[in-house]
Point group: D2
Chain length 482, copies 4
């Protein structure tokens, strides 16, 4: 509900464990933050692959009787976030088919950039698509492959793809993990005895007691089956493009992604932010929950004490009912409340991890002022987001990104802060240990590492203006009194 | 799911607002932490009182069509926690009846100590009880009163009660708030224009934009109706007995209760804890979410930095499925994960607000050690809990309270910490501004401000021994490997 | 959905069978035609009485897991029809309470004429009513009785009642059957080995393999418990008043009620109707399903062959969706269709069991004409219904009964038949073997065997005119074309 | 639940009506007897085709809000019965796809005999099947067609099929009806003003006020779109093979199928049966509901009066709970009860429309004897069924058909009747007006008008013996007493 980029998926898979579907359920539990619209599990018992998927949370979809319908020692699972337009069960994953090569199920985190091109070609040849997800093209390529083996058919299929893809696939007998050669999205490998797991984030391994082995490498295909674990690298080499936003916002702080502790990186972002944008203040207040790590770092570096001046209500559901006589800043109030004893009379540094449209920030700044803050200084622990993502992140169109169309001073005025500070791109990249060129920073720079195949309508929506006009900033709701 | 005392209820009421049931829904939303088993709203339109109540969360029970069945400008609502035995819809509140005095609905936070005595008397006289809740006796006393007015009938009824009770009542025309003369449970009064609200905690007023006026006073009856607000004090005077546990754990930190900011009190507890039980350490880690305020205070006082070394998964539902091949500390792991980069090699001070049976603490200490901590020092921001509560808090029987039957050193060994420190009773009482005799501390002292009427079975369960034996400490689950 | 009087309930009870609740479920299954709005079962295992009741059909409410929550060798059950106003779960039966005499549950078929008087008295004395059903007064009288035994308390309670009541009651240990001294509603006793059953109709005994023993006698109380079966007769003697409408329409033709085969009586009605109202015709067509037995008798007596010229769709649910562009006679068409090959060019005698408002008959006559009938002669196998029932049957108010306010010729014109014939009261009473004075015929005569205690609003609604006007006959829906 | 052949589907379609989906819902309502497992509707508004389908009854699936999601002036619908193995939602119809020719939805009554052959070929070429229904092959053939128009692509697809098929198809703009050249299953055309409808049975036209125009002819494709109604006949001519079982049992008696009144044919069957198998008797009793028409004919011809000696409980749901202490003939008793006053001491002719395994007949004969019948003569209004159907009817395997493996005398003994009589094949064919060679009688003769393409496993199951043994007749359930 907050004004954030949205991660689109979490993928998980396990091989060689008698409770494969139960471990997958737990893995998805730990990956629930990566997608809350639908979830699914497919499991194989050596004979058949079975599937359960539904709209909703992992915990609401799966219970003991449901998991009992998913026997076998191999399983894959998926949690999905999706934009409104295609939020329907048929698009939920895993997608499972039966074809000339047998049954195969797939889970995908990322975005296949040339999916529409491939799809058009296949439809013209008579393929019937059941979903409008980009992922389904992989299955049709696979079903049409005349290759003699499952592995060859798979390689023939995935090497036609461009873009971002971390896949977990399941056959009657094997778990297969695939990561695109750029390594856009994370995918880690874990182990417990003879059992193996792959997961978008390592926090899922912690929950089920598996130890982290290594990441599935960019461009690697891992086939984990009765013959053991086999790695092949069918893609031509490509520059690395890890998504920096996993560290900024998406991943859980207790995960390691791209080989680094998210908590450490995020705390470093706060420290760098304090160095770059420090201001005289009495208290550092994170916008919970995502601003907490950076606030710790900011406080640590600036020696300004951190306090929880905003309290989050964790019982908030997906929807809530608003009174007709609208309450000021209601949408934010229902999730956050101020603590007057912390804010009153103080100079407050508010820490957030990102700022997309600015609408939520504007409401929070006003709430903080209404609780008596003397000054409000908003600090963002990443650079201004100026470009949409095409590699598996749900972002608004460019013209809705406030930083794409307005100056920092205009934004400050809009959100109503006394001062506004962003972390610089250098500050961001200095906070990770990895070589900075390993990261995709297209949302901050507009420089895209994988080209778009066609200058099509979706692409044109990137333009900043409608009919020559910059998108107007959203109005505050009317200042009615309850 | 954690090893905590449980608050039993939140009550809310509103008078004189065209969207009374919607505001009540929002009020309950903000009070959801006080009870998650059932919720209900009764609303009056001057002609009839209507009721909706269900098992479940506020947000799952009420939607627009449901609220549309609750028209009127007066409403009361309730969120309920209950022990397993009587967790059923008939015990959910509000309880609504029609009687010779008209319709009346009631919401209750607290516990009527002489309810069983009154109930037995009424049943012998032919009253038919529909629930096994203590609250229903109030309604039967009221229905049988031959007093000539609603007010007189109510006073005649409530003055027969002893114990803890903060009531919100509704009639066809009025909202009535009652607080027992000891003031055990909180009840605050708020206002917006001509509309009035009563609420267990002030955070509910913040959400709906009402301002806090004052607390309903101990022993006060507030009748808010077409004739305005009238206060009567029908009880003989009694010593104050505010529940100190509201500050220690129950209330939200963004609320004021008993006239003080919960956040401030709770942070003070952490400071006092640091002064009393300080130890050389590298990092202060709260057990989230309830240990956070005290950890802030402890860190502030001790100058040891605070870090979030334990991450809570907020997507955890009420139930979850455990693998047959059990995972170590699974019950805790599913809710909390460690952040190795924070804990590894460090001397850790773990801060929790209370310790009841010790079972959860024992698991958390082990998890923290498994993440590489060099030392683990457990600090509890209140004194040892040695006695059950009989005033509206769900507590285990005395013999299950580890501090009632074991020495501090035995507890330290059981939880596996390098050291264990509790806040002293003096330290606790010095953290509130109010005169310390205003508080009930019976759970720490066994000294009960309101006597129990009969030496009955429930009371005997207080004894520390079963057949002469101290309750054995729960075993760790078997050390199986997944 | 048809224009009929509605029976209000079926009651059933079993004692001394290890599958008491399952047999009760089956008994209700067989009594489903007596009430389709809600159903419930209470069962006793010697220690506790447990209850399940819901809105809906017996078959939708009870499944194996639900019945497993109702253990014990004693059970009672109820199917309920109710008017719109009080169609809610709290009014469903059995009603179960706990009181000073222990637990007691009750099922009721009939109507307690002095319920409001008793209720007012009890409410003034402080009783809290949970339902608006007349049945609840019995329980409050029982709970307030200071009698020393269950039996005495029950006798003290039921002897205060006037009106129609066939009760099945359950305690922790016994099944109790009660029938009012007039014997308005049926109640039969069955047996299999040491197990006993009571039921509104004998068809329920057939299903569960019990044999019919005798009727519970008017004014009899049967206590079936560990001490065996005991009969007491606590009521002063009263004239018999069996409901003749049970034979005319309510009961299933495979039941015996009041000691006679419903099928035989109903076929006799058809024979008498042919004798009284015979007309030259080609085919006799019953309005299914209730007109079938009388049509058989009519055809047999008149030697005019019977054919199924109207076919009923048995898949019709409670509700159905009508097109906006309304279809002629839609409400009837969705349930009945004509068979042109039977009706075309024929002189048709339509047989129905009763005619209340005339609205459905009017539509059916038109449909039959539209299918080509040359003449349509409507024959009703009972006299004109001119008065509402106050003894447990749901009937419209008097002014809505077409025969109360219009002449037979006016009705004939309204329904559009070539001729209309009713059975005479003598013809009706000659069709049963029992002495004719044993029957209540108040709906045909307006002569009520049990007086109403007060001249209250409900009674005044009997008047035939509103503001001096006779109720206008309902208009045909507009003659739109789809 | 009775021992009957099962019709597999009802199809319906409407073109050119503003409430197309509502009329389709009503059409399915009238066709509910042709399939009760699932139902669905697809509707087109000129731009998009939308689909709703679910397991369950038409009336439970569709309500106003659901139908509101199906706007447009064209719609098709389907009710489905299916064998246990493939009773799942994905097999429900309509099946809707999007392909290179646009969206197309299909409903099917019948069975495509060469579906497996076609499917294997398509899968090898890379098609992905989503269901295991034979109908889906039509859509894949269509999607792969390189023909330039929808019509050409459709013709190219359907001319590859052999077997029984009455299709209703929908595109964004048109309704298309197809009937196989043998005319196995019925399909009628109706009209109201400018709107058109197609339906499996004419009773659906009656309900919505459309008039019957003619049957869709065998081998005809009717394209009803903005350009009007166009008929093409793309199939080579073939001998007619109308399913005689539609008249014997499947169709509603108020329908006309294959140009004749079902009621008339079915009554004729009864007359012929009386002529062929007459016996001295006191009463003719139909086994309801399907035996009623034939019983009317039998009674008429034989002058033995017909009475309803078996009463059907129309409240029986799909499932019911049986007591552990089983009741004799329970499965039949729950649906049928005897009327002793009709049967006792009588010589009874029981009329049924067909006899498949004989298990239900055996129970009914015993029930009728238990109700006191002196003699029981069972008469079946069609010949012995000796062969399974492969053209869209769900039948047991041949060895389960009692008449395939036992003599008439053996069957008589098994069912326990005093005599048993079947209608002869000549008697059957003489009851229809159409030339008798127009009908498929393969279930009575084993002579199949369309050959099976492969001698595959399904076909081999036809053999009469398992391991050289005739299937033993099912035992009566043990003669336990409740």
């Amino acid at each position: 509900m907050f004004d954030k980029f949205k991660d689109e998926c979490g993928v998980f898979g396990v091989y060689g464990h008698p409770e494969a579907s139960k471990l997958t359920y737990l893995g998805l539990y730990a990956l629930q933050h990566r997608g809350q619209e639908s979830a699914g599990i497919a499991a194989a018992d050596g004979d058949r692959v079975r599937l359960v998927k539904q709209m909703g949370y992992v915990n609401d979809i799966f219970d003991e009787p449901t998991l009992a319908t998913l026997p076998g020692t191999v399983a894959i699972g998926h949690t999905r976030y999706s934009t409104a337009g295609d939020s329907k069960l048929s698009n939920a994953q895993p997608i499972l088919i039966d074809c000339v090569h047998g049954q195969v199920g797939i889970c995908h985190n990322g975005n296949i950039v040339n999916a529409n091109e491939i799809r058009d070609r296949l439809v013209r040849a008579g393929s019937i698509f059941q979903t409008n997800s980009d992922t389904e093209v992989v299955l049709h390529l696979y079903a049409r492959s005349q290759a003699g083996s499952i592995e060859d058919a798979l390689v023939e299929s995935i090497t036609q793809l461009t873009g971002a893809f971390s896949f977990a696939l399941i056959t009657q007998h094997a778990l297969i993990a695939v990561r695109d050669p750029h390594g856009f999205r994370p995918l880690a490998l874990g182990r417990l005895g003879d059992a193996w797991a792959v997961t978008s984030e390592t926090c899922a391994l912690d929950l089920i007691g598996f130890s982290y082995v290594r990441d599935v490498e960019p461009g690697e295909v891992l086939i984990i089956g009765p013959q053991g674990v086999r790695s092949i690298k069918p893609f031509p080499s490509a520059p690395l493009s890890h998504c920096i936003f996993e560290h900024v916002y998406f991943a859980r702080p207790d995960s390691d992604v791209f080989g680094e502790s998210v908590n450490e990186v995020r705390t470093n972002l706060g420290r760098a932010l304090a160095r770059e944008t420090g201001v005289a203040a009495d208290v550092v207040v994170p916008i919970p929950d995502s601003g907490v790590c950076a606030a710790i770092g900011y406080s640590d570096e600036s020696r300004v004490p951190m306090r929880f001046g905003l309290i989050r209500n964790h019982y908030v559901g997906r929807t809530f009912i608003e009174p007709a006589q609208s309450i000021r800043h209601f949408g934010v109030k229902v999730k956050l409340n101020t603590v007057r004893s912390i804010l009153e009379g103080r100079r407050v540094v508010l820490i957030d991890d990102s700022l997309v449209r600015g609408t939520t920030s504007r409401k929070i700044v006003r709430m903080v002022r209404a609780a008596g803050a003397k000054q409000v200084h908003l600090r963002i622990s990443c650079p201004p987001t100026v470009s949409p993502c095409f590699y598996g992140v749900d972002t608004p169109r460019r013209r809705e990104l406030i930083a794409a169309t307005h100056s920092q001073e205009e934004i400050r005025k809009y959100v109503g802060a006394d001062s506004l500070g962003y972390l610089s791109l250098d500050g961001l990249l200095s906070s990770v240990k990895t070589r900075s060129t390993s990261y995709c920073t297209s949302c901050y720079t507009g420089s895209y590492p994988v080209a778009f195949p066609r200058d099509e309508s979706g692409y044109l929506q990137l333009s900043l203006k409608i009919d020559g006009q910059v998108e107007p900033l959203p109005e505050e709701e009317p200042e009615t009194v309850v």
